[in-house]
Amino acid sequence: MNVIIDNFDLFFQGFLKTLGIGLICMVGSLILGTIIAAFRVSPVAPLRAVGTLYVNLIRNCPLTVVLFLIAFGLPTIGINQSYYFFGCSALIIYTASFVCEALRSGINAIPAGQAEAARAIGLGFTQNLRHVILPQAFRTAIPPTGSVIIAMFKNSAVLGVFGVSGDLLGNAIILTGSRGFDPVPVYLGIGFFFLMITIPAGLVLGYLERKAVILR
């Protein structure tokens, strides 16, 4: 267990890096996921098609494939960015497809009359989404979206072997690999620090869920 105390620096830096990646990707995937969800319920058929295609392609691909295609595919067509950028982009693109579906389930759970009433007072599609549909969909979608976001925090570990160094898992690999520490306590430590991210996230979610409950 000394390995955790002796290398607390490395763990803590990794924790901050992983937390940072997670927060950036959370915001990004919530925004992108909302846009894709809007596409999927749009009255414009081509937008719906784009949204459906996006979800069906991305959601059904393993994250590492998405990551690989972005990190190694984009440079071959001349787009060179940092692996941090590529990694976060891939995680956002991947997670957004799940956020989209969680949100869409939230949208579908809203009685059709809500959208009709909004249309009846003259709100356009985007106004309808923004003021009537999405605020309610977000609330209904909090539990499934929360699960998606927590999964995303954990998925972010894969960036550690995709050109991003210094995150929790990357540092664990340094400790167990070149530094030769026993992996069991190292990974216990990694698990602990991940829990330090995901458990508070779960508590925040529970709080939001209670706050946002809509009486019907």
Partner: protein, 268 residues
């Protein structure tokens, strides 16, 4: 209300002569409107003109197409053939123009459809602020006045689920009125209410009618039809079977279908 009471006992089904809007300017006209749900022909060659300030009550057995007819007027339902015009202009296709049109056509739903995540006041001010581009203060002032008129101003900071059905429906009427519509469509506004709440809603509607609001009301409330309607439209199987001034319709319906329908609902 109108001076033109047509003598009862007129046999004609060709209703355009009966209970005509007369001097009224036509506000809504439906011409040869047809609509299908798959194989089901829900509107069959419907022709209907609603004059400004007129109160038209649409009745008929369930499945007769009366709700569908009501919902085509603000294009919540699209039609297959025919034309519908509002103020002389045909209904635009989906988009900005349609949204503008809808803001001029109020709608009150059977299930109220108040925005569940917004307070009563916010429900009423949303349209004025976002569509009519009113300042919040002005919109709230108007909204409170409307809520007072329908008798629920004291509930303005509550959420819809905290109100009774009757209160919710009155809020829905205030929400429609807040858009200063040219016509309000009522789609079975009392059908989802407990019986003791029906009257409070009908009273609001009656007073609106008296003030000269143009209204299309789909309802089973024959009392309201008698008291407030300028004209009764009877539908069955997707067709307008009969139109008449209420007194004439209820005392001496000209069609067999209407007589049959009335006998079933008025017996008890």
């Amino acid at each position: 209300m109108t001076a033109e009471n047509v003598a009862p006992g007129t046999d004609s089904v060709a209703s355009n002569d009966v209970a005509k809007p007369g001097a009224r300017t036509p506000l809504v006209t439906m011409t040869s409107v047809n609509k299908h749900y798959g194989a089901l022909h829900v509107l069959r060659d419907v022709n209907l003109t609603i004059g400004a300030g007129e109160v038209v009550v649409v009745i008929g057995p369930s499945g007769s197409g009366k709700s569908t007819l009501c919902r085509t007027i603000n294009r919540l339902e699209t039609i297959d053939t025919g034309t519908i015009t509002l103020d002389g202009k045909p209904l635009p296709a989906e988009g900005k123009a349609l949204a503008n049109l809808r803001s001029e056509v109020g709608m009150v739903f059977q299930s109220f459809n108040l925005f569940a995540h917004k307070t009563i006041l916010e429900n009423v001010t949303l349209g004025p602020i976002k569509v009519r581009k009113l300042k919040r203060e002005a919109a709230e002032k108007e909204a409170i006045a409307l809520l007072e008129r329908v008798g629920v101003a004291t509930q303005k900071d509550k959420y819809p689920a905290q109100l009774s059905g009757g209160q919710q429906q009155r809020v829905a009427i205030a929400r429609a009125l807040a858009m200063k519509p040219k016509v309000i469509l009522f789609d079975e506004p009392t059908s989802a209410l407990d019986p003791e709440m029906v009257n409070e809603v009908l009273e609001v509607m009656t007073s609106l009618a008296k003030e000269g609001m143009t209204m299309v009301v789909v309802t089973h409330e024959m009392g309201f039809a008698r008291k407030a309607a300028d004209r009764v439209v009877f539908m069955a199987d997707g067709q307008i079977v009969e139109e008449a001034e209420p007194n004439a319709f209820f005392t001496n319906p000209s069609s067999e279908r209407a007589r049959d329908f009335l006998s079933k609902i008025l017996v008890h």
